[in-house]
Each structure stands twice: as C-alpha cells, then as structure tokens.
Amino acid sequence: MRSTDWSTFWVRVLEATLETLTMTAFPLFFASLIGIPLGVAVVVTRKGHLFENRAAFFVLNTIVNIVRSVPFIILLVALIPLTRLIVGTTIGTTAAMVPLVIFAAPFIARLVESSLLEVDPGVTEAAKSMGATPWQIIFRFLIPEALSSLVLNLTIATIGLVGASAMAGAIGSGGLGDLAIAYGYQRFHTDVMIVTVILLVIIVQAIQVSGNHLSQAIRRR
C-alpha cells in the first residue's frame, strides 16, 4: 500500500464526488425524458390498451430489449462514435453522460412499464366509463395512481446510474469510480479505495432514503 497525502488529496476526492453526482443527475434527467414516455408508450400500445398498436409495441419493445441486453461496459465503448458526434469528445465526465443516458433510458422505460401495469385495470375502466379521453386516462388516472411506485422505481434507476457512472471510470470519465480505479487499483492506494467505497455507500443510502420518503409522501399526500 502506498501512502496518500490527504492534505491535498481531499480536493481530488471532493471533485470526484461532484463528478459522480453530475454523472447521476444529468443522465437521470435526460434518460427520464426518453424513458418515461417510452415506458408509457410500451404500456398503452400493448394488446387491449388505450392505443393498441401491434407494430409500435413490437418496435419499441424490441429496441428496449436490445439496448437492455448490452452490458454497460460494452455500451460505453461501442457508443464512442455517437458520443463524439453529440458532445464532441470521448473522454471525461461529459463524454460519459451519453452512454449513461442510452443505458438508463430503456431501464427507466421498463421500470415505468412495471409501475403502470400495477395500476388496477378497474381504474382505467372507470375512467373510460366517465368519458375520459385516452390522454386524460394517462395523465389523470394512470400516472397519478402509479406515481408512488414510479418514484420508488426511479430511485432504483438513480442508484443504477451511480453504479454505472463508477464503471465509466474505466474510460477515464472522472468521478469516484475513476478515482478508485486510478488510485486504488492501478496505484495500490488502498485507503483511496476504502474512502471511495464509503462515499458511494453514503450516496446510495441517501438516494434510497430520499426516494422512500418521497414515495411515502406521495402515497399519503
């Protein structure tokens, strides 16, 4: 084990922590922007649902499955041309966000799908019986009824992103994962490894606890 000069190194740790948070928050936002509508679409185009459309369901469902089946570490490398096209660089925090979004969006879509499918079909039936339009059914019945479960599922996605952002350290993305690999693994600074793990545990705990609280608050507004 090599010794670390913590009097200066803590700045590096702080930076890395902020990078991890950035690589979680921004991709979460953009992935939700894609994933939530995608999840809703996968639900409402299925057989017997509001906008039943076999072709659309098949295409969307297949896309989600294909992207979901590629391991993130492969996605990271395979998407390098796309990343360059979108953000103009292939290294660093910004570059890591493109594959993170592509990784999280179909994951979120599946989670949204499962939340919406939990809603009692009787509620949809009641909504139809009162003359609600399909869009009203989605926005005034399905989503509000699923909201508490949606929040819990988005919490899972957020934690998934924290994990994936650490993995992006393998291509020099910055963040706690990068730090752990660069110092803890490649330079044998075991103390750095331990500190990053502790920080990741704290971050994940904080996200889970807030998610649980928010979900509860929505359930019992």
Binding site: V123, E125, A126, S129, M130, T133
Partner: protein, 343 residues
C-alpha cells in the same frame, strides 16, 4: 331508455370462440330499476359493458335514448358515456385521490369551473352521506363507504342511466341493504334509470321492478319482478326465487304426505299487496267448513308491497274444497301442488 336488440358478444380465445352473450333482446324503460340476475359466468357483466361500449357487441345493437351506441364517433361516445354513470363491484376508486377528488374528477374532465365543481361535489357527498369524509383517502373507508363514493362519482355528471355491476357483491348483507336504499333514492329523487347486474336475489327482491334472468349468455326469462317471483318458469329462475322465498315444500313434508296413501288437497296461494293482509284462509275455512293447514310459506316484501307465498292443505269435502278454491281464485293466484312434481 336502454334497448338490447339481438346483442351477441363473442371472444376469440385459444380454444376457439367463446360466446359470452347470445342474442339478448330486452328493453329497460325510463325510471325502471331493472335487475339482471345470473350465476357468475352467465355473461351479465359483459352485457352491462355493452351498454357504454366498454365491450363492443360482436353483433346486434344497443340503443340508449334511441341512439345506437355503435354508430357514435369516439367523441360522441365519450359524451354519451358522461350521461351513463357506472358503479363497480370493486369500486375502482383512485387510491391516490381523496374522496373529494374522486367525486370531482368526472367534472374536471369536462373542464367544469372550479366553483361549480365544489358545489356539486359537496351536494353529492351530502346526498350519499359522506360529507365528513371529503378529505379522507379510499383506503381509510369501509367497503360501504367506498361504494357511496363510487355512486357519488357516477352521479357527478348528472347521468340519465346508472349501470351497477355487482355493486353490492363485495359488501355484507347489512351494508348491501344500505347501498340498495341509496340506489332506490337515486332512482326516485333524480329519476335515474338503474340497470343492476347481480347474482344476489335479495337485490332483485328489494329494489327492482323488472328482472331478466341470464344463463350461459342468454336471457332465459324476464318480466316484472312480481311475475317472475310468482311464476318462475325455468329451473334456474326457480332456484333463484327459492333462495329468497320459501316457495318449495321441504323434502321431509313431501315424504310424510306421500307415504300415508291418502289423497291430499294441497294448493299454492300467492298473495300480493293488500290481499296479503286479509284473513282469506280463515274466511273460506269457516264458509266451507274446511280445516286449513299451512304446510309451508313466507310473506315477504316486493317493491315495498307484501308478497306472500303459502302452501296449504285443505281438509274437508272435496266439492267444498273446489268451491273454496274457486272463490279464492277470484282475488288471488292459486295453483294445485302435485307432490310428485315437487323436486
């Protein structure tokens, strides 16, 4: 108000076509509380969903207010549905919304001004007796209270018709009575036509004026509740009537009577309305010098009128018994009971 004209609904299943509703035709008149009774799987839930096209009939026509529902555009159908309230067995309330919000939502869907919504919801909650529960969530309510919310929600858009799909089947008998009383109030105070689907004969007995009996997707018998109760034809109908009326001789009595080898003069007498409270039997007994033995029977209420069904045995001169029966027949329905036919 609602006309079913040769309505058939079938589904393409894995094991071929399943026909849930077969050639059903009947009319629900304005102001009726019309009951459709049948065992589960008889097709009654599918039938009621054909009214507001939650299920689209495979063939045949459903007309509400003389409008063929199938001919409506999507937009027209939504407008028509606002005039057809629906109440469900499992209430189907939004768990994430308060009682107030649940009742308000049909009004908000049609962009009713907030002030109007407030007033209407307040009135409705007071009508169903839940004014103090406005801010509660459905999971804080009992089954009966949830159904009251369901009814208030269904009434929000001032419908002309209320469809009740097993509205009381998830409730205990006490609560069922209260909900039925509320439905009767809906019918009387607002003149709303009510179509009730149920497998419980007490529901039919307590509030319906007309009834259709369904079995295997078909209507096997229909008519006024009084007619169906007094002269059930089909076996299923007889079973349903027996479930609330003791109108069949118990096996032990039949056995006892048929074993003694004598001739018995046994009649079924139906009382209705005022006649149910008249001492008919004791009168003819005295007049024709007969002894009257009540073997079995019950007096109940049909649409708040007494309705009785007595099985009696006359002892006396056969001619006199005939005369007595002829006299009773002038006012009441009397039928001879053949012991061998019973069961």
């Amino acid at each position: 108000m609602i006309t079913f004209d040769n309505v058939t609904k079938s589904y393409e299943g894995k094991e071929g076509t399943v026909t849930a509703v077969k050639n059903v035709s009947f009319t629900v008149n304005k102001g009726d509380i019309f009951g459709v009774i049948g065992f589960s799987g008889a097709g009654k839930s599918t039938l009621v969903r054909c009214v507001n096209l939650l299920e689209e009939p495979t063939s045949g026509e459903v007309r509400v207010n003389n409008r063929d529902m199938k001919s409506l555009s999507a937009k027209e159908l939504r407008e028509a549905r606002k005039k057809i309230g629906m109440v469900f067995q499992h209430f189907n309330l939004c768990e994430s919304k308060t009682v107030y919000a649940n009742v308000a939502i049909p009004l908000q869907l049609s962009k009713t001004p907030k002030k109007e919504v407030e007033k209407r919801v307040k009135d409705l909650l007071s009508f169903v007796g839940l004014s103090d529960k406005a801010d509660n969530y459905p999971d804080q309510l009992s089954g009966g209270q949830k159904q009251r919310v369901g009814i208030a929600r269904a009434l929000a858009t001032s419908p002309e018709v209320l469809l009740c799909d097993e509205a009381t089947s998830a409730l205990d008998p006490q609560t069922t009575k209260a909900i039925l009383a509320l439905l009767r109030k809906v019918n009387r105070e607002f003149g709303i036509t009510v179509l009730i689907i149920t497998h419980e004969m007490p529901v039919i007995r307590d509030i319906c004026n007309r009834v259709a009996v369904m079995e295997n997707g078909e209507v096997i018998e229909s008519g006024s509740v009084f007619d169906v109760f007094s002269r059930p034809e089909a076996k299923t109908t007889k079973n349903f009537v027996s479930s609330v009326m003791q109108d069949q001789l118990p096996q032990s009595v039949i056995k006892h009577l048929s074993e003694d080898g004598k001739t018995h003069y046994i009649y079924r007498i139906l009382f209705e309305g005022e006649m149910a409270s008249q001492p008919v039997l004791s009168k003819v007994g005295k007049q024709f010098d007969l002894e009257v033995n009540v073997l079995h029977g019950q007096i109940t209420e049909l649409q708040e009128k007494p309705f009785g069904n007595l099985i009696v045995e006359f002892h006396g001169e056969p001619e006199r018994i005939e005369e007595a029966v002829a006299l009773i027949k002038e006012n009441l329905t009397v039928r001879e009971v053949d012991l061998h036919e019973e069961y």
